[in-house]
Amino acid sequence: MIKKPKIKFINCRPMIGLVLKDLKAFFLSPAGYLLIGVFDLVLLWLFLQNFFLIGQADLTDFFLSLQWGVLILASALSMKTFVEERQKQTLELLLSLPTSPAQLALAKIITGLIIYLIVIISLIPFVVIVSLLGPIDFGLTASAFLGSFLLFAAFYTYGIFISLYFKNMIISFLFTLFSLFVIYLAGTGFILDRLPELISQSLAAFSFKNHYQSFLLGTPAVSDLVFFLTLPLLFLELIIIRLNRKDKIL
């Protein structure tokens, strides 16, 4: 008789506790609000520089600036995840609780995604104001926000993975920021145009910019969705592998 494979489902209740704990850490301190506030202000400042010159209710420039904002925000938020737990020695406490590495990793990721959703919500009044000045394509805007969300998910999970290798938040932040910047730049025309065609085409398939661009144009393909869903899952797996190497993370 063939045995049916046991499917293990992740118990969500402990994860709710972990997510709430991290959300409280973010929103109970002024630093959290300050981060979102500064993020929004810088984005608006960058966008408004050309907005009135062009004189069109077009959010393309806004979403182009947002990609860099996402890069910085994901690096800043991810540096706090495991580095802070290690610095405050609370990682040992977490590891002593009946939670699996998968639950710990997922909880950290979900917290970051919730914070980013709140960031998106904080930007909605601005989109509404622009829509009052002239007609905007709400479908396109939703697609662009979805693209930025997926971009954030990929960058943020990468940042969490990197944070497991450092004990200093600033170094973790700078390493994540710099490496993401290089990876992102490698997929832009600035680099791709200078490479042989074969290499250029291969690299273009993994270009963050190209996949994000599809969302900005409102025409995301299945390959774009697969790209952005695969990366967080890949980094989730890498985070779990790293968390299982107990000697290295304490």
């Binding site: 704990k21 020695q89 040992e92 406490l93 009946p98 107990k246 304490l250």
Partner: protein, 314 residues
């Protein structure tokens, strides 16, 4: 309840634990003694499944932390060294977080008796960063106890506390020890005697003593005799009582000697009569006869020095 069999742990080339073996029975309170860096925290982390051993076998109530990490963590309540807490949370929020992660329903009503017993009601709504160290320790202990663990593993629960706070936590541990198996590490030896019946001493990753506290102190007891008679009388005493060994002998006056014997095993009070009889038989006169109990600190120092010498010889 806790069983470690030939457990070794390496950090790179450094051997942090060297084939350590011990067993703790249900309901026992055991002190885990050792100087800093002896391997106490590593052992406790292995018991909890926070670290994996490189060699050997660990069993907690029949479960291996490597094979059943979640089950083991449900059985154990753990207070890590330095009592790390999420200080941005209020006491109530922190304990709610622990209850949620441990999947415990009915917070806080179901656990009110525990909170009352641990004396944290006064700081219930305060932020952890604002409360005293003694209260923080209570909160850490409450978090370790909230799921009614069968085993309590406490890494340095008394460190950094003032004498009053130490007394509070010691009395709490005494009460808890009536129902729970407790293993607590410390290098503050003065608290050990009042708290536990068993001790395990670890030094440079090796267990150098594991047994009851009374065995430990009994075996290290000295008997002090002041007698009138010849010096060689001590040899005759040793001949009659082979479990004694001569620690030192000094002249008090021309025919009076002050001898100190080490007792290898047995109750020292039983030896007092035997020594008096042996001296009288050999025409001597005992003028003073005392049992000299050594402090745990001096015994501990002696044992670790002995272990150092042994390691140097090896």
């Amino acid at each position: 309840m806790i069983s470690l069999k030939k457990v070794s742990k390496f950090f790179g080339r450094f051997k942090a634990l060297d084939e350590i073996t011990f067993r703790l029975k249900k309901g026992e309170t055991t002190a885990f003694l050792g100087v800093n860096g002896a391997g106490k925290t590593t052992t406790m982390r292995i018991i909890n499944g926070i670290l994996d051993p490189d060699l050997g076998e660990v069993k907690i109530d029949k479960y291996s932390p490597a094979d059943n990490p979640i089950k083991v963590k449900q059985i154990i309540g753990y207070l890590p060294e330095n009592n790390p807490l999420y200080t941005h949370l209020r006491v109530s929020e922190y304990l709610h977080f622990i209850a949620q992660v441990r999947n415990l329903p009915g917070f806080p009503h179901r656990y009110k008796h525990l909170f009352t017993h641990m004396g944290i009601a006064a700081v219930w709504d305060q932020k952890i960063e604002e409360i005293s160290r003694g209260y923080k320790q209570r909160v850490g202990l409450t978090a370790a106890l909230i799921h009614q663990p069968k085993v309590l593993v406490l890494d340095e629960p008394l460190s950094g506390l003032d004498p009053l706070q130490k007394e509070e936590i010691t009395s709490l541990l005494k009460t808890l020890g009536q129902k729970t198996t407790i293993l607590f590490s410390t290098h503050v030896l003065s608290e050990v005697e009042s708290l536990c019946s068993n001790i395990i001493i670890i030094h440079q990753g090796r267990i150098i003593f594991a047994g009851s506290l009374s065995d430990f102190t009994m075996h290290q007891t000295q008997i002090e005799v002041v007698y009138q008679g010849p010096k060689k009388l001590t040899n005759l005493i040793l001949k009659d009582l082979p479990r004694l060994s001569l620690h030192q002998i000094k002249p008090v006056s021309a025919k009076t000697w002050h001898a100190v014997f080490n007792l290898a095993a047995g109750r020292p009070d039983r030896y007092l009569k035997s020594i008096s009889a042996a001296v009288a038989e050999n025409k001597g006169l005992v003028t003073q006869l005392n049992i000299r109990k050594q402090s745990l600190e001096s015994l501990f120092t002696k044992l670790t020095d002995k272990a150092n010498d042994q390691k140097a010889k090896d």
